[in-house]
Every structure is written in structure tokens, then in C-alpha cells.
Symmetry: C2
Subunit: 265 residues, 2 copies
């Protein structure tokens, strides 16, 4: 699994690349089922909206077999090693539920802004993978990107501790508008199993989900191993401190689990 | 300007029909410019979000020349006469701004629910036209429809006086979910100048606009003349009391204004 030259150039130019239906229905079904079990569990790694609905589960790759495999999946890890030109470790791992009706906003931000300010990550040699566990449509709170904004490096931000249940370094409206005049504003949508890879400094947000359809996305934040964080201000299960290079598993590592699940029924 | 048989059937089956780019850039430019002037004016017909940004301007066809013409435009009026099988009058006329960053949610509702309960409109022989004055994308708070929900007639609703600055009879989540299991949930998007025609009992909503792009839509609510309202509880400029059949103007009535504007520059 490697990105083509054209895909690499697109990533460099736009700050993201969209890979439709990288995982099939069986693989997605395993991950969705396990996500539900994790959300239903009473763990400190599971954060909730103010009304109790699950918002984010951290570090599932450390306590769930399906997500352990996803965190080492070659379809995700190999393209990122290619883009970051080196070995990578897992900086952060989240399963973000944007629940039907209740899923709340994520304000405009850059992930690397947080990684730099809060975690002392030296450079932006780090990036995100978003794997859709549900169809993402215009209706259920898609990710919004400002294309090309990653070229501006880290832009000024304020620490928002109030809007939602998750503290975030957010950009002001003037900055977002200026960047959008240049790059526009897009909302990549697609089927469950699709993957978005985006740069650590790409400016993004997502609106509330007022639709009756849930919208769960798994986020892997991968960092080149020599670029590991230097400040340990956040919980270990939010900003990981294990900088061991990830070794990919086999391409059918999730399929195997799906088959085992069927066999056990 | 008539709908095809296929379009009429689609409207009947799905509850809406989408007509891309019905108005050209010049026509849209005139309407957009006049909308800005109206929003900037200090009229009781202009309602604002709690932070002062314009949300809705009512009845612009009664005090603005471009909107007077739009309210009698054959591309809008003739298809509706066809769908409602009779002469029509203007029940309500709104220019809804969903301002960049600030545009607020419209909760799940049916327009005819309000027309029946508040205005005593006898039957659902009435419908909406939405004309996009900006490109509507997945990013800037598109209209969300539950296709086929119009077949259920008026469904139970509660009077929401708190969520936004506009009182609305809104549906509960269980009802919306049940209808969406049957019909799904779609967000028709398209270029400025595009038109959505949708049934008075079609269940719809729209999310907040957190994007840096504004999203203004003009709504004409047309009612068959014999089905006129019987209760006058709302302001005349919200629920009109002039039941005179609308006579269409010429197809170039807005183009003329655009040409005059250019000539005057």
C-alpha cells in the first residue's frame, strides 16, 4: 500500500488526500461494534458531551484488539511513513463519535498547534488519518478543511476551554476567513471505510450533527519518531510517550478478526 | 417554464425536486446586493440572531423592487401552480441569511405544521421554494430533508420558543429518527441560482453555519388561493392576508433590473 506520485503531490499542495473506501464493510463492522462497546464502558479514556453522550475515546489501540490492529494497519501506516519520510510512532489515537442530534461542534483549529504548545513537539512532521466508520454526508457534521492552509505553519490561536467539553487552541474568525479567501472551504464526504489523510497544520473544524444519523471517525495522529514530543503536560493516554517505531501488521489483520467473529456466532 | 412529468412524480414521491442553476449570475447578483441592503436597514421585518447578525427578512416582495419581481417570477410561480393545481398567493416570503460563523440552527420541523396551527391554513395545499443566493455546500449549513416524510401529513410537534430567535413547532428525535429510517436524510447542495421546491409537510432542518462562507436562501411559501389562511394571529408581514392570485411577470423581469444596474454604473 503506497500513495501514487499524484496523491503525494496533492497532499503537499492541498494539505490532505481523500482515499475512498479503503476498508470494506466487514472491517468497518468490526470497528463499529468495538467502538460501541468502548463507548458503553466506564473508562477515564472515554470523554462525554455535557449531556453524557460519548464524544471521544482515547487510546483504544492500547486496550482493544481491533483497534490495536488498526493502529498498525499497513493501509494507514505505510502511506504516512511515505509522506513523513521516516518511521512513525502513535502520538494520539481517538475514536470521535458525533452522535446523532447531539454531536457537538469542533471549532477551527490546527492539531499541530496543540501538539506544539501543549506537548512540545519540535516540528510539524506529524499528521492525521481519519477513518470513517459511518457514511459521512453533508447532513451529519462532516469535517471542514481550509485547503492549503497547512502552508502557513502554526497560526495564532487562543485556548478555548468553554465552547465544548474538550480544550482546544482555536483560530479567530478573521484568520479563518483570510485563509479561506485563498484556499476555500471544503467538506470531503464519502462512504464508511473511506480515509482522509491530512497535514498537522491543516486548519479544520466540524459542525454539530443535528441529523438522525451518527457519524463516528477514528483519528490516528502519527509523528515521525525523531520528532517525538518533549513536554509531558497531558495524560499519557492523550499524548503518548512510547516512541517505538510502529511495525505494520498484515493487510488482512482486521479481516481475520471479522472472520473469527462470524465463526463464533 | 413547466416541470416535466418525471419532475412532478419525483416531487410527489420524495417531497422535493431540485432544479440546478435556474437563475444566472446576473440575476443572483441583483438579489444578493438587494438582500444586503435590506439586512442593513432598520425595519421590523428584519429579525436578528441574539448577537445582532441578520437571520431573516420577511416580506421583501412588498418593499423591494427586485424581490417584488422575484415573487412573481414565472420560473418559480408557474411550476408551483402546476404542482398545486390551481392559482396561488404568497403566504410567506423570507430571505434567510445563515451568516458565516454565526448562522444558527433551524430545528426539525414541517412548515405546514406552523401554517396549520398558527394560521389556520385548512390543508397542506401549499409549498416552499428555496432559491440559493450563495453556493450551498456541505460546509455552510445546507438544508436537511427527510425524503418522503411529507406523506405522513402533520406529525406531532412541540412549540420551541427557546432554541433560537424564531419560534417554531419542532419534532422530537424519536419521530425524526423513525422517519429517517424510512426515507434517509439528504442535504441537497448546489450553485447559487439553484432552486429547491419542497412540500409543506416535508420534514426539514438546517445546521449552524460554522464556515467562513455566508449562505443566504430566499424562501417563497405559496398557497393555493382557495386554501387561504383563516386565523390571523401573526403579523401581516409574516403570514400574508392578501389572497389575490399571483400573475407571473416576464421571464426576463430580473435580467432587466440587472441590465439597468449595469447601465447606471
Amino acid at each position: 500500500m503506497k500513495l501514487t506520485d499524484a496523491q503525494q503531490k496533492e497532499f503537499d499542495r492541498e494539505g490532505y488526500v481523500f482515499l475512498p473506501e479503503m476498508f470494506d464493510d466487514d472491517e468497518v463492522a468490526v470497528l463499529r461494534r468495538e467502538a460501541e462497546a468502548i463507548y458503553a464502558s466506564d473508562r477515564e479514556e472515554v470523554w462525554r458531551e455535557s449531556n453524557g453522550v460519548a464524544r471521544t475515546a482515547f487510546a483504544a489501540h492500547t486496550y482493544n484488539e481491533a483497534y490495536r490492529r488498526l493502529g498498525r494497519h499497513p493501509r494507514l501506516v505505510e502511506p504516512v511513513k511515505q509522506l513523513l519520510d521516516g518511521d512513525v510512532y502513535m502520538h494520539q489515537f481517538k475514536i470521535n463519535a458525533k452522535a446523532a442530534f447531539d454531536g457537538d461542534v469542533w471549532q477551527w483549529h490546527q492539531d499541530y498547534g496543540t501538539w506544539q504548545r501543549d506537548d512540545g513537539m519540535p516540528t510539524a512532521r506529524a499528521m492525521n488519518i481519519a477513518l470513517f466508520l459511518d457514511d459521512v454526508t453533508a447532513a451529519n457534521g462532516p469535517l471542514l478543511f481550509i485547503p492549503r492552509s497547512h502552508k502557513h505553519g502554526v497560526v495564532e490561536a487562543g485556548h478555548d476551554l468553554e465552547t465544548t467539553s474538550y480544550p482546544l487552541w482555536t483560530l479567530d474568525r478573521e484568520t479563518v476567513s483570510k485563509l479561506a479567501e485563498e484556499g476555500g472551504c471544503v467538506a470531503p464526504t464519502g462512504k464508511a471505510g473511506s480515509v482522509l489523510m491530512f497535514h498537522g497544520t491543516l486548519v479544520h473544524a466540524s459542525p454539530p450533527n443535528i441529523s438522525p444519523m451518527p457519524r463516528t471517525i477514528v483519528y490516528l495522529s502519527l509523528c515521525e519518531v525523531n520528532n517525538h514530543i518533549t513536554k509531558f503536560t497531558r495524560k499519557e493516554w492523550i499524548a503518548h510517550r512510547d516512541f517505538t517505531p510502529i511495525e505494520s501488521l498484515n493487510d488482512d489483520c482486521l479481516k481475520e478478526l471479522a472472520r473469527e467473529a462470524v465463526a463464533a456466532e
